[in-house]
Symmetry: C2
Amino acid sequence: MALMAQREFNFDKRKSFSEWYNSVIYAADLVDGRYNVQGFVVHRPWGTRIIRALYKLFEAELEADGHEPVVFPTVIPKENFEKESQHVEGFVPQVFWVTEAGGEKLSRPLALRPTSETAFYQMYSLWVRGTGDLPLKLYQSCSVFRFEHETLPFIRGREFLWIETHDAFATRGEAVEQVKRDNEIARKVLTGKLGIPLNIFERPQWDKFPGADATFAYDVLMPDGKVLQVGSTHLLGQNFAKAFGIKFTTPEGREEYCQQTCFGPGIWRMVAALASVHGDGKGLILPESAAPVHCVIIPIIKGDAGEQVAKHCENVKTGLEKAGLQVKIDASGKSPGFKYNEWELKGVPLRAEVGGREAEANSVTLVRRDDRSKQSVPLAKAAATAGEMLEAMLATLSENAVKELRAATKQARTLAEVEELLKHGGIVIAPFCSIGADGAECGAKLQEATQGGKVRGVPAFSRSEPHDGAKCVVCGKPAGEIVRVARQY
Amino acid sequence: MALMAQREFNFDKRKSFSEWYNSVIYAADLVDGRYNVQGFVVHRPWGTRIIRALYKLFEAELEADGHEPVVFPTVIPKENFEKESQHVEGFVPQVFWVTEAGGEKLSRPLALRPTSETAFYQMYSLWVRGTGDLPLKLYQSCSVFRFEHETLPFIRGREFLWIETHDAFATRGEAVEQVKRDNEIARKVLTGKLGIPLNIFERPQWDKFPGADATFAYDVLMPDGKVLQVGSTHLLGQNFAKAFGIKFTTPEGREEYCQQTCFGPGIWRMVAALASVHGDGKGLILPESAAPVHCVIIPIIKGDAGEQVAKHCENVKTGLEKAGLQVKIDASGKSPGFKYNEWELKGVPLRAEVGGREAEANSVTLVRRDDRSKQSVPLAKAAATAGEMLEAMLATLSENAVKELRAATKQARTLAEVEELLKHGGIVIAPFCSIGADGAECGAKLQEATQGGKVRGVPAFSRSEPHDGAKCVVCGKPAGEIVRVARQY
């Protein structure tokens, strides 16, 4: 089935994004959707390797920022959930419950973690005693479980993959600084390494994480004009610290509650963003940092040059590997054209064509996945050229994505304008009364009027003042904020 | 609490292994046992890093052997379990069931995977069509769940960490070869890299994996004389292939069932083995491949040499890192002696003592964790010397462990001798009627007579013929095998 789909892959992501997306994730061997439990998918080797690459990028940044890895249990007892009232309200409708084991009913139900605040923070109450124990910055790379009704691989699943960090500090100021650093990490990895531009918003109070003081989140514009949240970080304040009793004694002998943050890089959704933002009619396009294979070598054998070409392929591989690239020779019996399609579909950033001519000239022809531009270079220069081509490809992908995001971001002054603009998708900038709880009613009205347009919030830590006389597009009261509105996944 | 334990750690693993083990796993920050669900533990950063090192070792070997990584769902629907009758009987008593979600009762219970044959093989029936799809060799690194009654971190848990491979072949011969390669991989990592000698046994038929034709398993001798199985590989034959319909068409057009194997390196139990086999009265002793930090640098500051020493510590770090070592400077305010204890407890293989003398002589004093032997060398030679010391340490650990295993392995000719020898623990070699199903009754009698001594099986692929006239120690019939007997965890 995968092979069939590969041969036939030819979808236009602009014309029908949904058809394109639903084809590419299976055809490129990211997942198999035929597992017999709804909303749970099997990650195939190519998808698993991309996921591992994304984990590696984030784990490196988190550790450089002083986080240490831990592995917590998958299950959380019900009573832990009930300690923070907003959190329990927000999550319990989505929880899977383990109620039986070995033929017995458990004395109390265990939740499959939908997120692990209530697992971590009980332990934090044991670990934190004095300022010497702070800051406490831990992360875990794991799957979480939510009982979603509509599911789509990498976008919404009943089990999905992410990272969660849980940080505790002595002061509010340190917690705020951490939130800013989380945003920088997201920007560094997603934009810097993967070429995906982000809108980093402070979410409205009515759309924050249950139990947080404030939520900051990363929106990616998808080809169909809707936005996808690929991660978020939360200023938890002292809400969980009070619920779980996470206290420390100051050097002056006072007992104080910790200030907390938690950060959730959505690894699963980043795969969706990566596929969708950069992909084209031939399949995925993976930037270097996310690619399990950087260069695939395709032998092109005519007449009796087979042995010579095979030997040269090995030399090319060795040459490229010296530069730290992951290289694969596809020596299978399929035709070169078939192999081109197959590896283009999987998104491998570079192809090396190696035939009799290259073998004789001790050269290699390198082809970029995104624009198919070619360079024939002596073998001695192959590694350097490959490196330059990978860098140039990331720059191009990034520029294109930034252009698209800019073109899709428009200003409106009235509700009618918001409505009209949102018909074409994208992000609409509009004056709005408030992103505090008092703006919730206008948010709901806006959503109804625009058939799903949601107030995404204001640019994090860089909100701009509305000009004098600007009015909320919904209630007409003086605007307190300039917000972004978009339809979301 | 961890700090208290660190200062006070001083247990004799020979005198009371259980006390030693139960102290070291907490004091060395491997786990915290205070999570509020029985049998589920929190893996702390040091433990998590050791676990990651073990995963890395096995994943590299499995990939070199042609396995590819996948991520399967954590849940398995009940009907999958019921397809292989021995498997369902063997595992259902241990299964945790998810029965509710979002306030609704699920239409069918979902198992938390106790092992994933019944998840993988349903997909294999979709993926395998012809010989071109074979061999199919996949692995996943994950946690699994079993409703155990008595639990102990890293030895028996309700959630534990492992790898599972699932391989499908066209022929029985290839499957048998894979089992042998699995055994080689276990030997290469555990003995070669970690210095832990293994007994690799073919288990008796009455002790095989539910659903397998034959089971091969790796026993490690623990300091209390009991053995710990740290992994196993199973020749599944066509049992699951028939249950799940995993068929392929031969080039001649015949439909055949696959031949399968599955291999479970028990990462969690390897931590227990690593701690217990090499550890001493001061704590853990980690060989290079398992150590999150290879060398800890302790500044020893007297008088006003602080700045000079701090600078030299950085130079030593840079020098050692050039050799690819993980190095950490402990610049905290604690005393050098306190730091020595702390890092010895965590098992860091090398310590670099850096004081004013070393700074002036541009040298470094390196100390081995296992025998505390010291070498003072010029900085220029530090990396090479550190490498040699790590290698020598692994050799010493390995030799000591081999010696101990040899000394604990004894021969018996009668049941009384088996009984007497097993009082002191260890492994007893004895003539026995059969490891086929027909030997089960004698196996049970032996276990009763020796208060828990179990027939572990015969050396895998190298069983020796009993000498003429040898009789089964239980029934007295002519011995068909020379088996190994031991008490187990």
